[in-house]
């Protein structure tokens, strides 16, 4: 029986305070004390931690996370919105659908299939994929192509540390990721009329995949990934639009030729391969020069100027030197 985190009002949430004190909460839960032992405890992220259905090996690994210099110190988007406002069409196309309809999804046990131009290929249990790797907390900005953004405290490992285990060959130019195909647990995959084809596919250039910023996330807000956020593992590529950050990854393959991504196939004029956040290149139907940082309030949508590469230009601009980004969008 799965327990669900309680949804609380905005007023009761103090995400930074809870999150920064999470180690105390976890120690307390290990000692059998409840969240109520701490005054001023907001329960949303906290409940998430205490009712985390992830296996013990994962919770242990997440508890040992360390901070990262890549984290931003901008205000966090509250847990209730990070886990309640999602684009994950496999569970439905409304923003509230993934939380509503994702409850029947079972992310454990999970295995990842690695194939293609690499020395080591095969099917590996998630525990083995992550074994011995140090989990880091990375607070990243996530910018959706729809011109809204969030700041999310992810827990994960650099993608490069995972990929290195499989020793990709020199002829591997791209890495292809595929979301699980499980229509019996993902109602959006069995809908009659679909905007996109399943399974969802995303592709990174090998240098993008191996970049220190690219994260394979396995948790957020101190707990394992909720189903609606892409359990049990997903990419976070913070300098690209959010649709590149593929969720619930089942397959990874190293290839020479670049296949088209799902959104390239659905609408090549609007969604390109690189999808780098770029205020100077509008989406054909709307401008990308600004974004709404969520949560906004009714009379103040919290509009901020969009930064080149989502503010990660120092770290990634060199990957695209000489590339005309208005053509290669």
């Amino acid at each position: 029986m799965k327990t669900q985190p309680t949804k609380l009002t905005e007023a009761a949430v103090t995400p930074e305070a809870v999150y920064l004190n999470r180690r105390q909460y976890l120690k307390a839960s290990a000692l059998g004390l409840g969240a109520a032992a701490f005054s001023g405890a907001s329960q949303s992220a906290d409940d998430g931690q205490l009712s985390d259905p992830a296996p013990l090996w994962m919770k242990t690994q997440l508890n040992e996370s360390t901070a990262s210099p890549f984290s931003t110190n901008e205000a966090l988007t509250p847990y209730e919105y990070v886990t309640g406002y999602n684009n994950f069409y496999e569970f439905g196309t409304d923003k509230s659908d993934p939380e509503k309809y994702g409850q029947g999804f079972e992310p454990h046990p999970w295995s990842v299939m690695v194939s293609g131009a690499a020395e080591k290929t095969g099917t590996f249990d998630l525990e083995d994929v992550l074994k011995g790797l140090s989990v880091e907390e990375r607070i990243y900005r996530l910018r959706c192509v729809e011109a809204w953004s969030m700041v999310i405290p992810w827990l994960g490992v650099p993608l490069s540390s995972i990929l290195a285990r499989y020793r990709p060959l020199s002829r591997a130019k791209y890495v292809v990721f595929e979301t699980v195909y499980r229509p019996e647990q993902m109602p959006g995959q069995r809908a009659f009329f679909n905007a996109i084809d399943y399974p969802y596919i995303e592709v990174l250039r090998i240098d993008e995949a191996m970049h220190p910023l690219t994260l394979m996330a396995v948790g957020l807000y101190g707990r394992s990934l909720p189903n609606q956020n892409g359990a049990p593992l997903r990419l976070v590529v913070p300098w690209k639009y959010g649709f590149k950050s593929i969720k619930s990854i089942q397959k990874i393959s190293f290839v020479e030729q670049r296949p088209k991504t799902t959104w390239e196939r659905a609408n090549p004029r609007e969604y390109g391969f690189f999808a780098n956040v770029n205020p100077k290149v509008s989406h054909p139907r709307w401008s990308q020069a600004e974004e709404r940082r969520l949560p906004g309030s009714l009379f103040s949508a919290n509009r901020i100027p969009t930064k080149m590469f989502n503010g990660y230009a120092n770290e990634v601009a060199s990957l695209y030197q000489g590339l005309d980004l208005s053509v290669y969008y």
Binding site: T77, Y81, G84, A195, S287, P295, S297, L298, A301, R303
Partner: protein
Amino acid sequence: MRYFLASKGFWLVLGAPLYYVLYQIGQVLWVRPGALGPDPAQALVTLLGEIALWMLILVLSVTPLRKVFQFLRLHGQRRAMGIACFGYALLHWLAYAALLLEWQWATLGDDLLKRPYISVGFLAGLILLAMAATSNDWSTRRLSRRWRQLHRWGYLAAALVILHVFWIARSNFLEIVIYALIVAGLLVVRWPWFIQKIKMIKDV
């Protein structure tokens, strides 16, 4: 003006969506800031747009209901429904201009000229404005024949609205196809040839 006064109860019905919107706004402001989600401005704009679209569908159904089912009761309420439709479309635009764009005229102009979905939406709005402004006895008297001609532009407005909704869609295409079919159906059904055919089927 007698139609206005005669349908006070009807205004209650037409205003129901507005009461719902005001209730949601009240929730967001004083009870639960997350009532409309983390992007309440966007949610409100979308909500008002959906209401306006349903009002349009309602107005367009009056004549088909009369011609196909001999349902006459709504005919006198057409004026009120048309004005309500324009009212919600206006609120939709105001919410977008005030809450999403915060009255940045440069961006408003930019959007209007460069984003086709906004241009067609605005055009539809202008047509509805002209129709709402002439929805009174004085206008029907002054314009006589031309009044009918002007109000036929409502069909174009309906088509532009479907285009507007289609062009903003990213994922909910099924919903939009259904809207398009409903609107198309309501327009086709006015065609005399079509009405004859339906009557023939019914009389059999």
